[in-house]
Symmetry: none
Subunit: 401 residues, 2 copies
């Protein structure tokens, strides 16, 4: 019996409210051995109070040593084994711009780029063109017609776009055309299996037409394709857990991830305060809320320790608005670590804080990696976090007599 079948069988409904507050890339590293991490450096009186009355632990997003992307990181938090459910980046991007992706669709993440006179990439992000330019160019590309397939081109943000091919029988297993460096031409789309030959052929035709369409639009005179994939069959969050789930996320990808498991994506503004307001206004409509805070990750990726500390303090300041709502279970964690020392996602276990009346408190009195290591939840795979949250909310019946 797999974890989802177990959840399907054991879950019950009650009036409890659960909040999963994800600070993207929350886990960190000290800059020097023996020093403090970003989370430990930050002044976080509200999180520390929750830690004192709650229980801490460390989660492993995928497996020890494995650094997750945002997709696997979030799927793990939602209780989906990231090794079992693998999601292409193109699919995430499409979901994140509210594109209604169907089962015959292949989704592709595009990056506008600059080609020099020799056809080699001189800028992989086309000088980071403004969003309105990207939008206009996507409008032109959306006019391209390829026989036997419907094509859609949509802007995401700045130099990023989504391309969708829709036809029966398209495989989603095609290599990226982005060579990941400049000074070389874009790659041709290459199918990795027979079922994706037709997709690769369509992509080739589409890229040929696009080159003509964009030829006078430097710096955005071409685009590369990445994360080509189809939407996988994935059971819904509500079917597994019996939870009506609302997602409050600013960035498209995280909305896309929530939509992938059929959470309801709620519109909110751009700030954490806006997100809290949306949480308040939606409180009675849902059982479970996924609230996503991006900036702990982006500051980590920038290698800016002090800025990440500041973002964690902003997160801490939002806690009283959340606890004022009286959630039965509040989980604060990350989808992975993004130590500013490494300027990237990492494999290090992720701090977890679970606050609920039914938790077995531990000796921890502040939220940080060192205390989490001594926390009562121990170290566990992220895919079990939802079971723990459900249990603490009284939403799981006992297993067996």
């Amino acid at each position: 019996m797999d974890l989802h079948d177990l959840m399907r069988r054991l879950h019950v409904k009650n009036t409890s409210k659960l909040v999963l507050l994800v600070a993207d890339g929350l886990g960190g590293l000290p800059l020097q051995a023996g020093g403090k991490t970003e989370l430990e450096t930050a002044h976080t009186p509200n999180l520390d109070a929750l830690a004192t009355g709650g229980v801490l632990g460390l989660s492993t997003p995928v497996l020890p040593g494995i650094t997750p992307g945002s997709g696997p990181g979030h799927l793990g938090l939602f209780g989906y084994d990231p090794l079992q459910f693998q999601i292409g980046r193109g699919v995430l991007e499409a979901l994140g711009i509210d594109f209604d992706l169907g089962s015959n669709d292949v989704a592709i993440r595009g990056n506008f780029c600059t080609l020099d006179a020799a056809g080699k990439i001189s800028d992989r992000r086309a000088g980071r063109i403004a969003s309105d330019i990207g939008t206009r160019l996507c409008g032109k590309l959306d006019q391209i017609k390829i026989p036997g397939v419907e094509t859609f081109v949509r802007p995401v943000k700045e130099y990023r776009l989504v391309i969708v091919f829709r036809a029966v029988g398209l495989g989603g297993n095609v290599e990226d055309t982005d060579p990941q460096k400049t000074g070389v031409p874009p790659l041709d789309p290459v199918a990795r299996d027979a079922a994706s030959q037709k997709t690769a052929e369509i992509a080739k035709q589409f890229l040929k037409a696009a080159r003509e369409v964009l030829k006078n639009d430097a710096p955005a005179n071409f685009f590369t394709m990445r994360g080509i994939d189809k939407k996988p069959a994935i059971p819904t969050f509500e079917e597994i857990y019996g939870l009506r789930a609302g997602a409050i996320a600013v960035y498209p990808m995280y909305r896309g991830l929530a939509r992938l498991v059929s959470m309801k994506v709620l519109d909110a503004g751009q700030t954490l305060d806006d997100q809290c307001s949306r949480l308040e206004s939606a409180w009675n409509e849902f059982d479970f809320f996924f609230v996503h805070f991006k900036y702990t990750d982006s500051t980590g990726e920038d290698g800016n320790f002090a800025a990440k500390v500041e973002k964690i303090e902003q997160l801490d300041a939002a806690i009283p608005r959340i606890t004022a709502l009286g959630p039965d279970v509040l989980v604060v964690t990350g989808d992975h670590s993004t130590p500013s020392k490494l300027r990237s996602h990492s494999w290090h276990p992720v701090p977890v804080l679970l606050s609920a009346d039914s938790c077995r408190t531990d000796a921890c009195t502040s939220f940080g990696e060192t205390q989490c290591l001594a926390g009562g939840l121990g170290q566990f795979q992220a895919k079990h976090l939802m079971s723990l949250a459900m249990a603490h909310a009284g939403r799981l019946e006992k297993f067996g007599a």
Copy 2:
């Protein structure tokens, strides 16, 4: 290679003695954050001495967040993955009254109930009739004859009984007839698969006859059926571990669980002192003893923190009689947590104490949840406890050259 195959391959025999002392529902919760659990509150000088010289840890009976019933809880302790070996309640009850359940038998747990004039259940436990009344009524029901099937009816205790249908080709997948509430009639038995259609039909006929037999026996004028199931194929404890195992348990279900894995069930009296005497008298006949103490669970389910503390102190007082026998490995643990705060089984990890000359001692000096969290065994799935006990008894060869 699964865990059992590994044990089969690695186990060796020697003269060591192992004792698994299970305090049912041992794990608890503090009543207030920062307070002590039942186990931490109890004065347990003997257990603390064992903790000082031994090694502690926390076990997860099934998976994080999953609350086990007694069956899965004990199977885990015996080294059987509770998700792989699922046992119906009827099977447990039948095993617990020494019914010799065979492979053609479907076992059913019955509850005498009271039907009102309209045929609706007015009391799901028939006024908790005395055991002698239950026994007499079971004698009447045992006379019922259904063509093509042998039927057996046996009393368990008070309003509880066991019904067994014996015939070739009976499936065990039939819904409960207990509607779990009063004011409605009992449900009809409904097969969940084709192989169980015949079982459901027999159950219907049997219930029809039983209604006639019991019509003048109010308050016990009918009974409901629950936990309808067949005995699963389960490897024996001796075959896996090479241990001659004796079980000393007062309550039927725990004797049933021991018998399920083919332990020898030893008669003992009703008290822990009686159980210790039986342990002493059987010491030379077995390699492994499962000793079950029920009252830590029942006081927890009553929500009686002080009474659970007292029962733990009773358990502690029995330790010297056990250690006087000189077991090579003594494990003290629970099958799950039953915090009196929650008045029910729970998912919280279970304290484990392992005492053996070969253990790597940790810094723990008393037996309690907080110290267990820092214990040398860490947090582990209960199904690995038997491997640890076997290893500490010198009964496992090394794996690989």
